[in-house]
């Protein structure tokens, strides 16, 4: 495998994990623009614990889970103020959270402040790939459980869910916390791939992109974040390759503009995302008979 291909797959894996971290709360109706914040917490916690020179030099098999759990704990605590908000206000609250995290870390001299922090332990795909597969399996599994069912019922109608006995508050806090955990996991893994972290990597644009992976991929099924992350990782590269091959400037140098056009087109044509339930039925099942009206 070429170094280019390896690089793409590394980015794809990280994008998939962070996509699931935003998808799981989204499946419970939460719009989260704080992916950057969780990734920063996970990345810096892991880097500080694992780095040999400036950190504690602990083994990464220990530091990655600790970083993810710690981020999950922060998410759990933050869920109480954040879950008081809904919809657009929740987007603003999670965005504010990410900005606060960035502001704090930028001013923490112990982790290098604005000049970033080196990560001395490099891990190859053999670490990243199994964890990514694990996260995908976990995402599919969680959605299929009783907990997943209650998450989706809250997404559709919180009041009726409560009526049928769902502990809506507990489920919402749980979904948010799991999202934070996966965000921290993605952050911790990032450091070991690129050997260096800095807060500037994770700005508002990053959080917007991750939310787009999920919205474009679709929030109805656990296929959504997988397809969304692949779409966002591969399309710019495909456009680059097409640009090189054809010499069309729009596809090459202006590929991000072309990409933007594709995103807007997707939003117009498929507002529910690429992977909808109906689309999955088309792929996996026989066509259903047409609806006629009768009470049976």
């Amino acid at each position: 495998m070429s170094a280019y291909m390896t690089g793409i797959i590394i980015i794809l894996c990280l994008n998939i994990i962070i996509a699931y971290s935003v998808f799981l709360p989204a499946a419970a109706g939460q719009l989260n623009l704080g992916a950057a914040g969780f990734m920063i917490i996970g990345a810096y916690t892991d880097a500080y614990l694992s780095s040999a020179d400036e950190g504690l030099g602990l083994p990464i098999l220990l530091t990655i889970p600790i970083a993810a759990l710690f981020t999950g704990l922060v998410g759990f605590l933050m869920s109480f103020p954040i879950l008081r908000t809904k919809g657009v206000y929740m987007i603003l609250a999670t965005f504010a959270f990410a900005e606060i995290v960035a502001g704090i870390v930028l001013n923490m001299e112990i982790v290098g402040g604005a000049s970033g922090f080196p990560v001395t332990t490099h891990a190859e795909l053999e670490v990243l790939l199994p964890i990514t597969v694990g996260v995908i399996v976990f995402g599919f599994y969680l959605i299929s459980t009783r907990f997943g069912l209650s998450m989706r019922s809250i997404h559709d109608d919180e009041n009726v869910s409560l009526l049928f006995g769902v502990n809506t508050h507990l489920v919402k806090v749980g979904a948010f916390t799991i999202g934070a955990f996966l965000g921290g996991l993605a952050g911790a893994l990032y450091g070991h791939q690129f050997d260096y972290i800095e807060v500037q990597n994770w700005g508002i644009l990053f959080s917007i992109y991750v939310l787009l992976y999920v919205l474009i991929g679709g929030t109805q099924t656990p296929w959504g974040p997988l397809v969304g992350a692949m779409f966002f990782t591969f399309i710019p590269e495909i456009l680059r390759a097409l640009g090189d091959a054809t010499g069309i400037e729009l596809l090459g140098e202006l590929r991000f503009a072309a990409f933007g056009v594709i995103i807007v087109g997707m939003m117009v044509l498929r507002p529910e995302g690429i992977m909808t339930r109906t689309f999955l039925e088309l792929l996996f099942r026989k066509p259903m008979p047409k609806s006629d009206i009768s009470l049976g």
Binding site: N159, V160, L163, V166, R277, P289, G296
Partner: protein, 237 residues
């Protein structure tokens, strides 16, 4: 006659708005009781107070001999008091089968496969679409899904809030036949309706609510015999 559900002098207030005033109402085991009234008469507020999603301030709600005033809505569902909310409110991004599973959510660790199959025998349309998103169902199918979902919660009293809303006349007829059928299987029914003619045709007793007060009650024959009432609410002349 033993009363299954006994509502005594309850009030519902939204701030200054006094939606339900001193309302008493009861349902005997196996009865179909209807609550009639114009828009804004307090019918839905009354149902919500019984279900527990809105707090009643005075009086008491006695269900199966227990005062359930302080019970949460989910606890009332578990004890057998189940509402089919106005406008169906099914979970539209979930499949038909998942909607039914949600109905049984409060009955933890119970295998409801057989009960779901029984529902599907009754409604072949739902069976055909069991794995499809509930959003593709027609209005009539959504209503039968909402009722089936409530049945899976194992109710003793099922409360229906304007079930005929938005259904064509033939579907309304089928809906009331279904309500009668469920009732004959032993369920008591509290039916809030604007379609007074149909409701009185199927109910054992009725109450008329006006601006939060009960202004009349009795058998359908009694209510239809009252000329003033017939004129104001029942479309008579």
């Amino acid at each position: 006659m033993t009363m299954l559900l006994n509502i005594e002098e309850i009030d519902v207030r939204y701030g200054r708005n006094h939606a339900v005033k001193d309302v008493s109402l009861n349902i005997a085991d196996g009865e179909i009781v209807t609550v009639l009234g114009a828009n804004g008469a307090g019918k839905s507020s009354l149902l919500k107070a019984i279900q527990g999603t809105v707090k009643s301030t005075n009086g008491s709600i006695i269900f199966k001999g227990e005062n359930i005033n302080r019970w949460s809505a989910p606890k009332r569902v578990q004890s057998g008091l189940v509402m089919v909310p106005e406008g169906r409110q099914i979970f539209i991004s979930m499949t038909v089968e998942e909607n039914l599973l949600m109905g049984a959510y409060s009955r933890k660790n119970v295998d409801v496969t057989n009960e779901i199959e029984t529902i599907f025998e009754r409604f072949p349309n739902l069976k055909e679409r069991r794995n499809m998103s509930a959003a593709v169902l027609s209005g009539g199918e959504q209503q039968m899904l909402a009722i089936s979902r409530a049945l899976l919660a194992r109710p003793t009293v099922i409360m229906l809030d304007e079930p005929s809303l938005g259904l064509s006349p033939i579907l309304v007829k089928q809906l009331f036949e279904l309500i009668k059928e469920i009732n004959s299987e032993g369920l008591s029914i509290l039916l809030v309706e604007q379609n007074t003619h149909m409701a009185l045709q199927y109910a054992d007793r009725g109450y008329v609510l006006e601006l939060g007060n009960i202004v009349a009650s009795g058998t359908p024959a009694d209510l239809l015999a009252d000329e003033k009432l017939a004129k104001a609410y029942l479309g008579g002349d």
